[in-house]
C-alpha cells in the first residue's frame, strides 16, 4: 500500500515537473514564426515577445497559434504587419494580451475577407496612446470592424464593387481595389467618428453631410485613391437613410 502511494506521489511529481515544460513556448519558436511574416521591426517584436514570456499569465501558446493563423491567412503584408504591431504595443504598454487575442482573430478574419484593417489597427493604437483600458480598445476594434462590414455590404448593395487593380475600372461602379478600399475605409471611419463624437444614427442628414464633407476634401487633391468621380458615384447612390441603417447596426 505504502509503495503504491509512493508511486502515485512520484507520478504526480513527475507530471508537475514536466507539464510546465510542455506548455512553455521558447522565444526561438516565435523567432521562427516571425521569419515567415512581413514584420517591419523584428528586433522590437522579439523583444516585446520576450518580455511577454517573462510575465505571469502570458498566453504564450495562444500567441503562437495566432501567429501561425496569421501566416496561413492570405492578406496584404502591411495589414499583417499592423496586426503584429498591435500585439507588440499591447505587450509594451502592459495590457493583458489574453483579451486582445479574440480581437486579433477578428482582425485576421476580416483581412481574410478582403477588408482593409489598417484603419482599425490605427484606431486601437490611438487608444493605447491615450492610455484607454483594454476593454475600451477592444470594443472600438469590434465596432470599427462591424462598420467596415456594414459599409462594404452597403457598397455592394449599391452596385459599387472592387475589381483587381490591373483590370482598372471596367464599368460604372466597378472600382480598382485601392479606390474601393479607400472609399470603404473613409466612409466607415466617418460614421465611427460621428458615433464616438456623440452623434445619433437618427441624425442621418448630419451624418450624410459629414461623409460628403470628408470624401469631398479627400478628393480635392489630398488622396490619390479618391477621385471626384468616385465621390460623386457614392453620393449619388447613397442616401442618409442608408448610412443610418449601417450606423444603427454598428451600435446595436
Amino acid at each position: 500500500m505504502k509503495a503504491r502511494i509512493r508511486c502515485l506521489i512520484a507520478a504526480f511529481a513527475l507530471l508537475a515537473a514536466v507539464l510546465p515544460v510542455v506548455g512553455q513556448v521558447e522565444l526561438s519558436t516565435y523567432e521562427q514564426l516571425l521569419a515567415s511574416l512581413p514584420v517591419s521591426d523584428l528586433v522590437r517584436t522579439l523583444s516585446a515577445l520576450e518580455a511577454g514570456l517573462s510575465q505571469p499569465g502570458f498566453p504564450a501558446t495562444q500567441v503562437e497559434s495566432l501567429l501561425r493563423v496569421l501566416i496561413a491567412t492570405p492578406g496584404p503584408d502591411s495589414d499583417k504587419d499592423d496586426i503584429v504591431i498591435l500585439l507588440v504595443r499591447y505587450i509594451e504598454a502592459g495590457y493583458s494580451v489574453t483579451g486582445l487575442l479574440s480581437a486579433e482573430q477578428d482582425l485576421i478574419n476580416a483581412m481574410a475577407e478582403g477588408l482593409p484593417v489598417d484603419g482599425v489597427v490605427l484606431e486601437a493604437l490611438k487608444g493605447i496612446a491615450q492610455h484607454r483600458s483594454a476593454t475600451v480598445i477592444e470594443q472600438a476594434i469590434d465596432q470599427r470592424l462591424s462598420l467596415l462590414c456594414g459599409v462594404r455590404d452597403l457598397l455592394f448593395e449599391k452596385n459599387i464593387f472592387s475589381t483587381p487593380e490591373s483590370q482598372g475600372s471596367t464599368a460604372a461602379g466597378a472600382l480598382p481595389e485601392s479606390r474601393f478600399n479607400a472609399l470603404l475605409t473613409n466612409i466607415a471611419d466617418t460614421i465611427s467618428d460621428f458615433l464616438e463624437g456623440g452623434g445619433s444614427p437618427f441624425d442621418s442628414d448630419l451624418l450624410y453631410e459629414q461623409v460628403e464633407d470628408r470624401l469631398t476634401k479627400l478628393s480635392e487633391g489630398v488622396s490619390p485613391s479618391i477621385p471626384g468621380s468616385d465621390v460623386a458615384l457614392v453620393l449619388e447612390r447613397f442616401g442618409p437613410d442608408d448610412l443610418k441603417r449601417v450606423a444603427l447596426a454598428a451600435v446595436s
Partner: protein, 192 residues
C-alpha cells in the same frame, strides 16, 4: 465782518494763484505720463506675451473666453508668419488631373508651450508613437517638421505627457475615446 461775496473773491484769488503756480508742471503732462508708462512696461518679447496670454487668471467665463480668444489670435498670427515655412495646408499646387501626387512634403507641427519640459506629436503617420518637438531657441514655441505624403492625418500633441488634441492649426477635430484629435489634410504637390 466778511460777507459771502468777499469770501468768494478771496477764494477766487487764492485758486488763481495756485493754478498759476502749477501751470508749468501741468504743461506736457500727457506726453510725460505716456513716456513714463512706456519706460515702466517690461519688454517681454513674443514669449512673454504668450506667457501672459496663457497664464491662468481669476474670473469667470468671460476671462476664460478672453484667454481662448487671445490664444486663437496668437495662433492666427503665428500661422501667418509661419505660412511661408512650408505649412502644407495652404499649398495650392495640385496636379492638373485633380488627383494628388504622392511626393513627400515637410509638414510643420508647431505648438506654444512656454513652461513645458517635453513636447511630442503623436499621429497615425507614426503609428501613434511620439515624435519629439524641439525648442532650440527656447522661445517657448516647439516645432517638428515631418515628411508626409498627401492624405488625411490625425494627430495630437503630448505636452509633458498630457494629450492636447485641439491644435488651432488643424483643419478639423474628431472625438475618439472621449478626447479630441486634430486632423490635417495634406494636399499633393506638383509632383516635381
Amino acid at each position: 465782518m466778511m460777507t459771502n461775496h468777499d469770501l468768494d473773491d478771496v477764494l477766487r484769488d487764492v485758486l488763481r494763484h495756485e493754478v498759476a503756480q502749477e501751470l508749468p508742471r501741468l504743461s506736457a503732462l500727457e506726453e510725460r505720463v505716456v513716456e513714463e508708462l512706456g519706460e515702466r512696461v517690461p519688454h517681454r518679447g513674443f514669449v512673454g506675451h504668450l506667457r501672459q496670454m496663457l497664464a491662468p487668471t481669476r474670473g469667470g467665463r468671460i476671462s476664460q473666453l478672453a484667454i481662448v480668444g487671445a490664444t486663437a489670435a496668437a495662433f492666427l498670427v503665428l500661422g501667418f508668419f509661419l505660412s511661408d515655412r512650408s505649412l502644407p495646408l495652404v499649398d495650392p499646387s495640385i496636379s492638373s488631373s485633380g488627383l494628388a501626387t504622392t511626393s513627400n512634403q515637410d509638414v510643420l507641427f508647431v505648438v506654444p508651450a512656454p513652461d513645458a519640459d517635453s513636447v511630442a506629436v503623436v499621429g497615425d503617420f507614426s503609428n501613434w508613437e511620439a515624435v519629439p518637438l524641439t525648442d532650440d531657441n527656447e522661445d517657448g514655441i516647439w516645432t517638428a517638421s515631418i515628411p508626409l505624403t498627401p492624405g488625411r492625418y490625425e494627430y495630437a500633441f503630448l505636452i509633458d505627457g498630457l494629450w492636447r488634441g485641439q491644435d488651432l492649426l488643424a483643419d478639423e477635430h474628431v472625438e475618439n475615446y472621449g478626447q479630441f484629435t486634430s486632423v490635417r489634410y495634406v494636399s499633393g504637390g506638383d509632383g516635381a
